[in-house]
């Protein structure tokens, strides 16, 4: 099936006007499948880390949201150990007006502002609430261990 114009256009723009700290490159054999890297936001426990994600645009994209998962291990209350992300715009709040770029920005923002009240990884969220400092320390440690190139 031919690739919709929208996907082509988005891909072109990602290449032409890259977002600082975010990089998304489609697979050559599957243009709906992207290798994504996100730089951890400054002043976050993830600063200095480069996180790899995979992004897949489903058949009825943009009517349905893209499927995104962290490949790099990350300690975050809204991201589980399989890398799945809890983010409203990837679920019910998705709108076809959103794009790969915007959604990746949202994820980057999520790294800077974890929301333990809406957890996906329950144990992490618990820790975050009980001892935020220790949790942040763990996150930073994970970043060094897993996300440093």
């Amino acid at each position: 099936m031919a690739l919709p114009k929208r996907i082509i256009k988005e891909t072109e723009r990602l290449v032409a006007e890259p977002v600082p700290g975010i990089n998304a490159v489609p697979h050559e054999d599957n243009l709906r499948y992207f290798d994504v890297t996100i730089h951890g936001p400054t002043q976050s426990p993830y600063e200095g880390g480069i996180f790899r994600l995979e992004l897949f645009l489903p058949e009825d994209y943009p009517m349905t949201p893209p499927k995104i998962r962290f490949l790099t291990k990350i300690y975050h209350p809204n991201i589980d150990k399989l890398g799945r992300i809890c983010l409203d715009v990837l679920k019910g709040n998705w709108s076809p007006a959103l794009q790969i770029r915007t959604i990746l920005l949202s994820i980057q923002a999520l790294l800077g502002a974890p929301n333990p009240d809406d957890p996906l990884a329950n144990d992490v969220a618990q820790r975050w609430k009980e001892d935020e400092k220790a949790a942040i320390e763990t996150a930073r440690a994970w970043t060094v261990t897993h996300a440093k190139v």
């Binding site: 929208r6 009517m63 709108s95 007006a97």
Partner: protein, 1120 residues
């Protein structure tokens, strides 16, 4: 004999029979005074003097000298009737006296008479046959008559004074037939007036050998025997078969009658001259009298032949179809018709008189036109009969001087023209005249054989339509060296004629060309009509004169055709000196003039007492050829134009018209009259044999006769005709047909499936119960609903419910301040004005401004820039239309509420508005950014009451509108309710359209078609398949949309042909809308394909059979 040599004498009423045989009964019939005392025996030599004088004077009334009387008596041989005739035609003065022979014995044998004197060796009477008849005794007595006795058959006459015998009693059929106007002057008021008998006197008596009257023939026999005797057609004698020894009054006597045809009856058989049509006397009573005599004679002959079981030896197809009964019936009808019409005719005559006084000359005086209007189907039948054109008729090449190239059918026309104009030379196929039948003489007995030997031929000919007899073979006379070119408009009649003018032009000089006989009075009175042997005259309506001139120029190589526009300033030229044979070098080849000029010159010639030559105009020369263009101008034979044209003289006569019959058969008569086709150019002949049967609904007969008139005379091709290879005569521009497959929206499909399921289960149930045909209507209704659902789901819903919903929607709109069409700027003003309230409205105003100013023009969903069909939601967010539709569709399948992609507000499907920019003023240099001088922008609701089909139509129409703004489209649907919906949609889209359907008056329809043709900017015409499918010419359009398939494609094809037909100049695009996977698709692919092989539409099936066939269709349609 002498009288028959002189042709004019033949027309006289008291034409004299040959003196060799004057059966005595003739005398008795002529002179009723003799009847009673001396019925059958006249002593011709003795005692004649006083009585001859007496009788002669009593009839003629003049005082003649004794010498004159004696001479008359001598030349007439004592025959008073003959004497009277000779007296009036003046021949008695020059004639040598002649010995008169009278045979007293009625059964005198034919061989005894001096038949050798006859130039053609015709015996004076010829045995025809025998038949049985009843007689009634009028007296009593014994041994009056016995078996084997010869019986004399005589006419019984009323006493003089009771009734004046109408016309001559003895062999005087022609007395009535003839043009009595000629004798009118001579006899004046003293002549025997042709008073009409109130009741027909048909008494025929029979006498025994002693001359005593025994009785009368029974009425059925007498009715025709009387006529035959009166009109001198036949002579009867009888033999008694059975009679009682003692006869009492009213007893029946069986007779065997032998019938002999009289020689005179054959001599009589020429058609009357054409000038009975003379201008003044159209409705004169004597014409009616002519007809009446003709009819009596005809009926009598047919009855006689019936009685004797005579069958024609050879006839043609036409006469075969009209058995004797048919002819009799027609005659009877004519009789009644005559009676009822006498008053009308009188009225008509009055109209004419007043009309004639009115010199303004309004030719198309409707009140004068007789004849009922023809129904369209009758006209079609007629034309079909008249079309003798065969696609493989030979062609002829035009002369070198002709500068244009002809199409094949035009070359065929040329060939036909040439063969018509030159047909005098090569009359190869001598076929019997269509109205005549050939009979064989009976030759069973020796006596008769001898007669036939004397005669030299064993057959004779009868015209059962006129009652005429002939010994000569009546061939189909074609003395008209021209014809009617009735090609349909647009096939190039003018060019065809011009090719003839070029190709058949006479060799100069040919002094032999001389007016032939058959001319009207004008001609005879003024002998100096000069031949114009090189000149063709074209008479055309004023408006076409210039066109003729330019076409003639275009069609001729330079210098090969001298053309003269004979009109106004040129009028002064003397045509006699210009066109005569000696002026061959300078004579114009073509003179073009108008009907008006012909009419006015005719008036001048008439005013000058018919001096044609002196006038020097159109009537002073005899043209080589006359062509009347748009000849229906002379369709009214009583109009002055028509009469004027009749009088134009020429060798060849042609009429051009696309409509030889406008609405009455009489229209055709006038053309035939102009062409001088005998015998049809005689109006009473025409009327008797064509008009009357036609008006009495005896169409087949009338049409067949018309066919025999038309076929050799008319060349008519229609645009529908094809050449041998099936190509149209004139190739049309290309036609491309595309089936547009349409996908129903989900909502539409749901509705469709629902009905489909019900229809299938109903059908299955009826098949199970074997009541398929009973529930036909019900199931058929299902199919109808399915087809409607394909067009628009609303069509199948109850109108009231739809109306209710519309009211609810209107209320909703009122609350929201929306409507189907909103002006953007007005909307912005409204939002800006609501400043007091909170942000939404300010936002609204801004959002709208953005739309107006094209600030953001990328679709948030598909990222197209600019977005196609920009559409905003109720929350005023924009995206392309297709994306919104997709979004809504996806949400529905997920059973979610569709939400705006920007603000996530729920989207109301109705509140989607397309942004329509009318770009006309935008060209005026106004930048998209500037708010001033903005183009008109409207927000137009998209989702209201539309359907997939309508959407597709609108899409196609606007597509075309963008790329070819001039192109016009016709949209056909069989559902007028669907047209209503399309109409609404077009209104909303501001696409201008017109509508044509069956509910409109004829006048309104014409108006619509005209506006569509002429109108600029109105490029769409909506038509109902039924009303617009036939007859119309819509060649201004070049696109056709067939919104829904019909059972048979032929009906659709007919509609398509309204656009793709003669006159179409551009390629035609046809879109047939078919909804995928529905009954429509099956109709197109299965039913329509099969229909090509079934003759159901030809009316060969009964209703029941049709139902069955249709039921089969339905099973296919509802099949899975």
């Amino acid at each position: 004999m002498e009288s028959s040599i002189n042709p004019s004498a033949k027309k006289r009423s008291f034409d004299s029979p040959p003196s060799e045989l004057s059966p005595p009964l003739e005398d008795s019939l002529l002179l009723p005074t003799q009847n009673m005392e001396k019925p059958s025996h006249i002593d011709s030599d003795g005692g004649l003097d006083s009585r001859f004088d007496q009788e002669f004077k009593s009839i003629v009334g003049g005082d003649l000298s004794i010498d004159a009387l004696r001479q008359l008596e001598e030349v007439s041989g004592g025959d008073i009737q003959r004497a009277i005739n000779m007296y009036f035609d003046g021949s008695w003065k020059t004639m040598a006296p002649k010995k008169r022979k009278i045979f007293h014995d009625m059964s005198v044998s034919v061989a005894d008479t001096g038949s050798s004197k006859s130039p053609k060796n015709i015996p004076s009477k010829i045995f025809l046959g025998q038949f049985g008849a009843d007689g009634w005794a009028t007296r009593s007595g014994s041994k009056l008559l016995s078996f084997g006795d010869v019986v004399g058959i005589e006419r019984q006459r009323m006493r003089l004074g009771d009734t004046v015998p109408s016309a001559g009693g003895k062999s005087k059929g022609k007395a009535l037939v003839a043009d009595s106007s000629q004798q009118g002057g001579a006899i004046g008021g003293k002549s025997t007036p042709l008073r009409q008998r109130k009741t027909q006197d048909i008494v025929v008596r029979f006498t025994n050998s002693r001359g005593e009257e025994i009785g009368r023939l029974a009425q059925d026999t007498a009715s025709f025997v009387s006529t035959l005797i009166d009109q001198g057609i036949a002579y009867f004698e009888g033999v008694c078969i059975h009679a009682a020894e003692k006869i009492r009054t009213n007893d029946t006597i069986d007779l065997q009658l032998s019938c002999y045809l009289l020689k005179e009856s054959f001599e009589n058989s020429s058609f009357r001259p054409a000038d009975t049509n003379r201008v003044a006397d159209i409705f004169a009573a004597k014409e009616t009298q002519d007809e009446r005599t003709l009819r009596l004679r005809q009926v009598a002959l047919v009855k006689l032949f019936q009685k004797m079981n005579l069958e024609p030896k050879s006839t043609n197809l036409v006469t075969q179809k009209h058995k004797a009964a048919g002819i009799l019936q027609a005659a009877e009808i004519a009789e009644q018709h005559e009676i009822t019409n006498i008053s009308t005719a009188n009225k008509a005559r009055k109209t004419i008189t007043s009309d004639a006084a009115d010199e303004s000359g309004d030719e198309e005086n409707q009140s004068v036109e007789e004849g009922k209007e023809l129904e369209e189907d009758q006209l079609n039948a007629l034309y079909q009969k008249a079309q003798s054109f065969n696609s493989d008729t030979p062609e002829a090449e035009p002369a070198d001087t002709f500068a244009m190239s002809l199409r094949r059918y035009q070359k065929q026309a040329l060939h036909w023209f040439l063969s018509k104009e030159k047909s005098t030379n090569n009359r190869v196929n001598e076929s019997i005249h269509p109205l005549w039948e050939e009979y064989q003489w009976p030759n069973t007995e020796e006596d008769h054989k001898k007669v036939i030997r004397d005669l030299g031929q064993d057959s004779f000919y009868v015209n059962p339509y006129s009652g005429e007899l002939s010994l000569k073979f009546p061939k189909q006379e074609q003395n008209c060296l021209g014809g009617i070119l009735a090609d349909e408009m647009g096939l190039g009649k003018t060019i065809e004629m011009l090719s003839l003018i070029h190709t058949h032009r006479p060799e100069p000089p040919s002094p032999s060309i001389h007016p032939t006989s058959g001319f009207g009075r004008l001609q005879r009175q003024s002998e100096d009509v000069v031949p114009a042997p090189f000149t063709t005259l074209v008479v055309a309506p004023m408006s076409l004169l210039a066109q003729w001139e330019s076409e003639a120029e275009a069609a001729s190589k330079p210098g090969t055709l001298k053309t003269l526009l004979y009109y106004d300033s040129q009028k002064k030229q003397n045509l006699q000196s210009l066109c005569n044979a000696s002026n061959a070098a300078n004579a114009p080849n073509l003179i073009i003039t108008s009907y008006g000029v012909v009419l006015s010159e005719f008036g001048q010639v008439v005013a000058s007492g018919g001096k044609r030559g002196a006038h020097g105009g159109l009537f002073s020369v005899r043209f080589f050829r006359v062509i009347l263009d748009e000849a229906h101008h002379i369709k009214n034979r009583t109009s002055k134009s028509a009469k004027a044209c009749y009088e134009l003289s020429s060798d060849h006569r042609w009429v051009l018209t696309g409509t030889p019959i406008v609405n009455r058969l009489e229209d055709l008569f006038s053309l035939v009259r102009f062409l001088r086709v005998e015998p049809w150019s005689n109006f009473s002949f025409w009327k008797t044999f064509i008009t009357v049967p036609f008006e009495e609904k005896d169409f087949i007969r009338a049409l067949d006769v018309v066919q025999t008139v038309l076929e050799p005379l008319v060349l008519r091709r229609t645009k529908e005709m094809r050449t041998l290879d099936g190509e149209p005569l004139v190739p049309l521009p290309k036609k491309t047909t595309e089936i547009v497959y349409i996908k129903l929206s989900k909502a539409e499909l749901d509705v469709y499936r629902h009905i489909e399921a019900r229809a299938r289960s109903d059908l299955a149930r009826s098949i199970e119960m074997g009541t398929v045909l009973k529930s036909y209507t019900n199931i058929f209704a299902h199919v109808l609903r399915l087809r409607q659902a394909c067009c628009h789901p609303i069509l199948i819903r109850k109108k009231e419910i739809v109306d209710d919903e519309m009211v609810a929607e209107a209320e909703y709109d009122a609350a929201k301040g929306f409507s189907d069409d909103m002006d953007l700027n007005a909307l912005i003003d409204r939002y800006s004005a609501e400043e007091s309230s909170a942000s939404p409205n300010l936002y609204g105003a801004n959002a709208l401004k953005e739309i107006r100013d094209n600030v953001e023009n990328e679709c948030p969903m598909c990222l197209s820039d600019p977005m196609p069909d920009q559409t905003v939601t109720g929350c005023l967010h924009a995206a392309c239309k297709g994306c919104w539709a997709h979004l809504i569709e996806t949400a529905k399948t997920k059973q979610e509420l569709p939400r705006c992609v920007k603000c996530r507000e729920p989207i109301n499907e109705r509140d989607l508005f397309e942004v329509i920019r009318s770009d006309s003023p935008a060209e005026e240099g106004s930048q998209p950014g500037s708010s001033q001088g903005q183009a008109d922008i409207t927000l137009r609701r998209i989702n209201s009451r539309s359907s997939a089909k309508i959407e597709m139509l609108v899409e196609k129409l606007s597509e075309v509108g963008r790329s070819y703004p001039e192109r016009k489209s016709c949209v056909f649907s069989q559902f007028t309710t669907f047209l209503d919906l399309i109409e609404k949609e077009l209104q909303r889209r501001r696409i201008k359209f017109l509508r044509f359907d069956g509910s409109m008056s004829q006048q309104k329809r014409a108006e619509v078609v005209n506006t569509f043709k002429m109108g600029q900017g109105t490029n769409v015409l909506l038509l109902s398949l039924r009303a617009g499918g036939v007859g119309l010419n819509l060649t201004t359009a070049s696109q056709v949309f067939m919104m829904d398939p019909w059972w048979s494609f032929a009906v659709e094809a007919q509609a398509i042909d309204r656009v793709h037909r003669m006159g179409q100049t551009s390629d035609v695009m046809v879109y047939r809308f078919v909804v995928e996977g529905t009954v429509e698709e099956r109709m197109v692919h299965t039913i329509q394909a099969r229909k090509k092989f079934i003759a159901s539409s030809l009316g060969m099936m009964t209703d029941e059979e049709k139902k069955r066939a249709r039921m089969e269709d339905i099973k296919i349609l509802l099949g899975k």
